[in-house]
C-alpha cells in the first residue's frame, strides 16, 4: 500500500512544548515538509529566534543557530555570505523582526541578502507573558495595554511587510495565515516559493504567517483561529505583497 502521509525527515518525532492551539507547530512542520520536498535538508541552516520558538532546533533535523533577540538576519547574513551554497533561513516573531530587530530586518532586506525569512505574526509577545507587540491590533488587550491598544498612546500596528516591499532589494513577500486547512496549504506554497527563490539566487524573500496564540489572545484554540481570520486579517490582509 502506498504511504501518502508521513512525518517529514526534517522534523524530529518529539513531544511539543507549545501551548494547545499554538501556530508554531504547524509552521515548523510546513518548513520541514518544504525542506524535505526540495531535497535540501543536508544543506539547510536555520536561524532560531528569541521567543517561544527559541528551541526550534529541538524539532528540526538540520543545522541551526540561535541569534540574539532581533539579530537573526545579521547572523543569517554572516552565515550565508560565508556559505552561499547553503540554504539559510530565519524564523522570527513579530517582536524579534519588527521591534527590537527592525534595523537588522530593513538593512538585510535592503542589501538584497539571498535569504528566506519566515515571519510569525501573532500580534503578541508570547514567551514573556502576552505583552503588546508592534503588530498588536488597535483595541487588543495585552498585559501592557490593559485597556486595549490605543493609537494615541501606543501608535499603530506596524505593517513591516508592506514597508519592506518598497525596497528594491526585496524579491518576494507574501502574507499567509494558519486559520484553516486551506490557508495552511497556501502558507506552505508561499514558504516553498520563498525557499525556491533562494535556491535560484533571486534574493530576499519573506513570508509573513498570521498565527494563533490562544493563550495570550485569551481564547480557546478554535476561537483564536476565528479571531485570526475575522479580526487580524482585516488589519493584515492576506496575499502576495511583492
Amino acid at each position: 500500500m502506498e504511504k501518502i502521509f508521513t512525518k517529514p525527515e526534517s522534523l524530529y518525532d518529539v513531544p511539543t512544548h507549545y501551548c494547545p492551539g499554538c501556530g508554531h507547530g504547524i509552521a515548523h512542520r510546513l518548513i520541514a515538509e518544504v525542506v524535505d520536498e526540495l531535497g535540501i535538508r543536508e544543506k539547510t541552516i536555520g536561524v532560531a529566534p528569541v521567543g517561544c520558538a527559541v528551541v526550534a532546533y529541538d524539532y528540526w533535523n538540520f543545522d541551526c543557530s540561535e541569534a540574539a533577540h532581533g539579530r537573526a538576519l545579521a547572523v543569517a547574513t554572516g552565515i550565508k555570505r560565508v556559505r552561499p551554497e547553503n540554504v539559510v533561513f530565519t524564523y522570527q516573531g513579530d517582536g524579534d523582526l519588527a521591534a527590537i530587530g527592525t534595523n537588522e530586518t530593513i538593512h538585510a532586506a535592503n542589501r538584497g541578502e539571498n535569504l528566506t525569512v519566515i515571519f510569525i505574526n501573532n500580534a503578541v509577545y508570547g514567551m514573556t507573558g502576552g505583552q503588546m507587540a508592534p503588530t498588536t491590533l488597535l483595541g487588543q488587550k495585552t498585559s501592557t495595554s490593559l485597556e486595549g491598544r490605543v493609537k494615541e498612546k501606543h501608535g499603530y500596528p506596524l505593517k513591516i511587510s508592506e514597508m519592506l516591499a518598497i525596497l528594491p532589494g526585496v524579491y518576494y513577500i507574501e502574507r499567509v495565515s494558519l486559520d484553516s486547512a486551506s490557508e495552511v496549504l497556501k502558507a506552505k506554497r508561499a514558504i516553498r516559493q520563498a525557499f525556491n527563490n533562494q535556491i535560484n539566487n533571486l534574493g530576499f524573500s519573506l513570508v509573513e504567517v498570521l498565527s494563533p496564540c490562544p493563550t495570550y489572545f485569551g481564547k480557546t484554540p478554535k476561537e483564536a483561529l476565528e479571531w485570526v481570520k475575522l479580526v487580524m486579517q482585516k488589519e493584515f490582509p492576506l496575499g502576495k505583497i511583492k
Binding site: 535538508r41 543536508e42 541552516i45 543545522d63 541551526c64 545579521a74 547572523v75 554572516g78 556559505r83
Partner: protein, 349 residues
C-alpha cells in the same frame, strides 16, 4: 607572502595581520580612531577572497561576525570605545556559544561620546567580559605597530584553538602612528578543523550553535566547562615583557602606548643610574602573574595608565600586598608624559 618591511599605521597593521592570518570575514561600522581598519578591509578583503560588509550598526556587525564564525569562518570586527559598548551583547553571545572571533578596540576617551583622543579607559570592560554573564575574552595589548600585526595573527590562532573571542586592545595613538612592519605570514591560515561549525548536516547529525540552556543544571554545567577553558588559558597564554627586573627598586607597570612612554622614562632613569624596571603586560587577560612574584621587600611598583586606575586593580591582586603599589594616571585625552613619570618615581624612591 614575501618577507619585507612596509611602513604602515597600527590600524593598517591589524588589518593586514588579519588578512595574513586567513581572516575571511569582516563586518564593521565607521568610528574614529579606527577607520583605517574598515577602509583597509574594504580594499583588500575582496582581493584575498574574503567577505567585507559595512554593517548598519555595531550591533549588526558583531552579529554578522557571530553568524560567519558559526559557519566556520575566521571573522573579525573592529571599533572604538562607544562602538565596543554596543557590541557587548554580541560578544556575550559569541562567548556563550563557544565561537571564535577577533574584536579590535582602538580606545578613545569616555564615558559617553567622550572624545577621539587616545585612552585606556576600557580596560575593565575588556578584561572582565564586558557584556552579561560569567565569561572572559583573551585580551592582547600591542605596544608597537609590529606587535599589532603579530598579535592579531596570534589572536586568530588562539580564538580557534580555545573557541573564545579575542580582543586586540589598542588606543588612538597606536592606531594612527606609522612604523615599519616585517610581514611574516604565519602558517596558521587554514586554522583548525571545525567539526562543530554549521555547514549543512550532510553525513552527520545536525550541529546547533547556541548559548541557551534551559534544563535545570545545564547552564551551570556549561559555565563550569567555560571556567575550565579559562583556567587552561590562564595557565598557558599569559604574556608580558620584563625589563631590568632583577635589581629594580621601582618597577613601572604599563601596557600599550603607555608602556612606550614608560620605557623612555626607564632608560632616562637608568642613564642616571636609578634602578628602575618595567613590566609590560602584553596579555591583559589572562593577566601575567609571574613577574609580580619577585621577593624583595623594598621593591615598589608604579602603575601608569591612560585611565584613573583600572589595570591598577590587577596589579594589586597580583602583588597581593607584598609590596606597595603606587599609581599615576590621566584620562580624557591626558597622557602621562616622561617627565611626570620621572617626577613621580623620584618622589617614591
Amino acid at each position: 607572502m614575501q618577507r619585507k618591511r612596509i611602513l604602515i599605521s597600527g590600524n593598517e597593521a591589524i588589518a593586514q595581520g588579519a588578512i595574513c592570518a586567513g581572516c575571511n570575514f569582516y563586518a564593521g561600522y565607521p568610528i574614529t580612531p579606527q577607520n583605517e581598519i574598515i577602509a583597509y578591509m574594504s580594499k583588500y578583503m575582496d582581493k584575498s577572497g574574503g567577505v567585507f560588509i559595512q554593517a548598519e550598526s555595531e550591533i549588526a556587525a558583531i552579529n554578522m561576525v557571530y553568524g560567519a564564525s558559526a559557519a566556520g569562518a575566521r571573522s573579525m570586527t573592529s571599533s572604538s570605545s562607544p562602538g565596543i559598548s554596543l557590541k557587548q551583547e554580541g560578544i556575550s553571545y559569541i562567548a556563550g556559544s563557544r565561537l571564535p572571533a577577533v574584536i579590535v578596540n582602538i580606545m578613545r576617551g569616555g564615558p559617553g561620546l567622550g572624545n577621539i583622543a587616545p585612552a585606556q579607559s576600557d580596560y575593565f570592560q575588556a578584561t572582565r567580559g564586558g557584556g552579561h554573564g560569567d565569561y572572559r575574552l583573551i585580551v592582547f595589548a600591542p605596544g608597537s605597530v609590529q606587535e599589532a600585526y603579530d598579535l592579531t595573527q596570534t589572536g586568530f590562532r588562539l580564538a580557534d584553538k580555545y573557541r573564545i573571542p579575542v580582543m586586540i586592545l589598542g588606543d588612538g595613538i597606536l592606531g594612527q602612528m606609522m612604523e615599519p612592519v616585517k610581514l611574516t605570514a604565519k602558517k596558521n591560515k587554514a586554522g583548525l578543523r571545525k567539526p562543530w561549525a554549521l555547514s549543512g548536516c550532510r553525513g552527520r547529525k545536525p550541529n546547533i550553535v547556541k548559548s541557551f540552556f534551559l534544563r535545570e543544571g545545564a547552564l551551570e554545567e556549561f559555565n563550569i566547562s567555560l571556567q575550565k577553558n579559562y583556567q587552561l588559558i590562564s595557565k598557558k597564554e599569559a604574556r608580558y615583557e620584563g625589563l631590568n627586573l632583577l635589581d629594580a627598586k621601582v618597577i613601572l607597570v604599563a601596557y600599550g602606548t603607555m608602556a612606550r612612554i614608560a620605557k623612555s622614562a626607564v632608560s632616562q632613569l637608568r642613564d642616571a643610574e636609578k634602578k628602575i624596571g618595567l613590566i609590560r603586560p602584553i596579555s591583559l587577560w589572562p593577566f601575567p602573574q609571574e613577574p609580580f612574584k619577585i621577593k624583595n621587600k623594598k621593591l615598589k611598583y608604579l602603575v601608569v595608565e591612560m585611565s584613573y586606575g583600572q589595570m591598577l586593580e590587577d596589579v594589586q591582586l597580583a602583588v597581593s600586598g607584598r609590596n606597595p603599589v603606587e599609581f599615576l594616571g590621566r584620562s580624557g585625552g591626558g597622557v602621562p608624559g616622561e617627565e611626570e613619570i620621572i617626577n613621580k618615581i623620584k618622589k617614591i624612591l
